[in-house]
């Protein structure tokens, strides 16, 4: 019966909200600091951020060989 369905759905929603309400949140200042720290630590090894030297670029344009 659809009324039983609705009640079952409402129960599920309340159960889910209870789980989410119980979550222990950290402060945004700490979360932001950790994200910035991660980016900073890994910036130097991020090829798209620092660029790829042509000699090490597997996608560099292939130039035809010139026979002298």
């Amino acid at each position: 019966m659809s009324t039983n369905n609705n009640i079952a759905q409402a129960r599920k929603l309340v159960e889910q909200l209870r789980i989410e309400a119980g979550y222990e949140r950290i402060k945004v200042s700490k979360a932001a600091a950790d994200l910035m720290s991660y980016c900073e630590q890994h910036a130097r090894s991020d090829p798209l951020l620092v660029g790829v030297p042509t000699s090490e670029n597997p996608f560099k344009d292939k130039k035809p060989c010139i026979i002298l």
Binding site: I7, I19, K27, A32, M36, L48, P58
Partner: protein, 338 residues
């Protein structure tokens, strides 16, 4: 008071409680926190490869863990496996159903998967002398929007039937069904530690799930339309989402809330896809307006654009070594940029 009324009241009270708890930890915003961070350099990438081969719209692409091979899916009814370094096609997998919406490469490199309007996820073995269908995962009652391999024996799927599922590839059956979204699930992303995943759906919500116990642990609000793309931030503490509301957002998992919205008044096209650079600093977001915009994930500013496609950018991907970004489009081409 009837039970229904009681539960409605309790639901409202819990929602208010959650909102208050989020506010209570909101002691700063990301813009202020990142004000001291040097801006990301202006990013100008060149097209290094133009991969021609598909004959119709490309809907999905996924890098192999070897940083070299990639799989793409098109509604021309084929999966193509590309060697991105040479630009050559290594394999072609003809699909039973051409209405494909997703493809995935297994971490081992042995298997690929695809699925779409056939409501199934089909897994293929690339290593047999002739490519063979290994399994057809058939239980979803809606289209397959996304699939990802955890290993050669487990696959995660997201479906238009509003569920996500974890499948056992040996039995072909669903081990766990993730139920909580009230709209079509459009995308999913595995956490770096593989214990959880996040999904985005047409109910404009992103949800975090525990893979093993099947529970929805957290729900992220803020978008005002379908979430088409989602990705874990490399460290595993944040997620980035892209939506038909024309914005991308960053949500922090531990603060349980939105930290930044990536938006521009001039941008009024939906976000179709996104990928992050290795450090997480750069977000490559594909839009309906044929471009891929590059965002500074910490400062929320646009720092570049990848222009060149002649139709919607439908998929983007950065390989694990972060050496390039690949964009796939309805114009039937894949481009590799760095």
């Amino acid at each position: 008071m009837g039970e229904m009324e009681q539960m409605k009241k309790e639901a409202e009270a819990l929602k208010t409680q959650i909102e208050a708890a989020r506010k209570a930890v909101h002691d700063t915003d990301m813009a202020s926190a990142a004000s001291g961070v040097a801006p990301a350099p202006r990013v100008q990438l060149k097209t290094r490869r133009n991969l021609k081969g598909h004959l119709a719209k490309i809907y999905a692409m996924h890098w192999s863990t070897d940083n070299r091979l990639m799989v793409s899916a098109s509604q021309d009814g084929k999966l193509l496996i590309w060697d991105s370094h040479s630009g050559n096609k290594v394999n072609a997998v003809p699909l039973k159903s051409s209405w494909v919406m997703t493809c995935a490469y297994a971490p081992s490199g042995n298997l690929v998967a695809s699925g779409g309007l056939d409501n199934m996820c089909t897994v293929y073995n690339l290593k047999t002398p002739v490519i063979k269908t290994v399994k057809e995962l058939d239980a979803h009652t809606g289209y397959l929007s996304c699939a990802r391999f955890l290993s050669d024996t487990e696959v995660l799927t997201a479906s238009g039937d509003t569920t996500c599922a974890l499948w056992d590839l040996e039995t072909g059956k669903q081990k766990t069904v993730f139920l909580n979204h009230v709209g079509d699930c459009m995308c999913l992303s595995l956490s770096p530690d593989m214990n959880s995943f996040v999904s985005g759906a047409c109910d404009s919500l992103a949800k975090l799930w525990d893979i093993r116990d099947g529970q929805c642990k957290q729900t992220f609000l803020g978008h005002t339309s379908d979430i088409n793309a989602i990705s874990f931030y490399p460290g595993g503490n944040a997620i980035i989402t892209g939506s038909d509301d024309c914005t991308c957002k960053m949500y922090d998992l531990r603060a349980d809330q939105e930290l930044i919205t990536y938006q521009d008044a001039a941008l009024n096209s939906g976000v179709t896809s996104l990928a992050l650079s290795m450090s997480g600093r750069l977000i490559f977001a594909g839009y309906d307006d044929f471009n891929c915009n590059i965002w500074d994930s910490l400062k929320g500013e646009k720092v570049g654009v990848l222009s060149g496609h002649d139709n919607r950018v439908s998929c983007t991907g950065v390989p694990p070594d972060g050496m390039c970004v690949c964009t796939g489009s309805w114009d039937s081409f894949l481009k590799i940029w760095n």
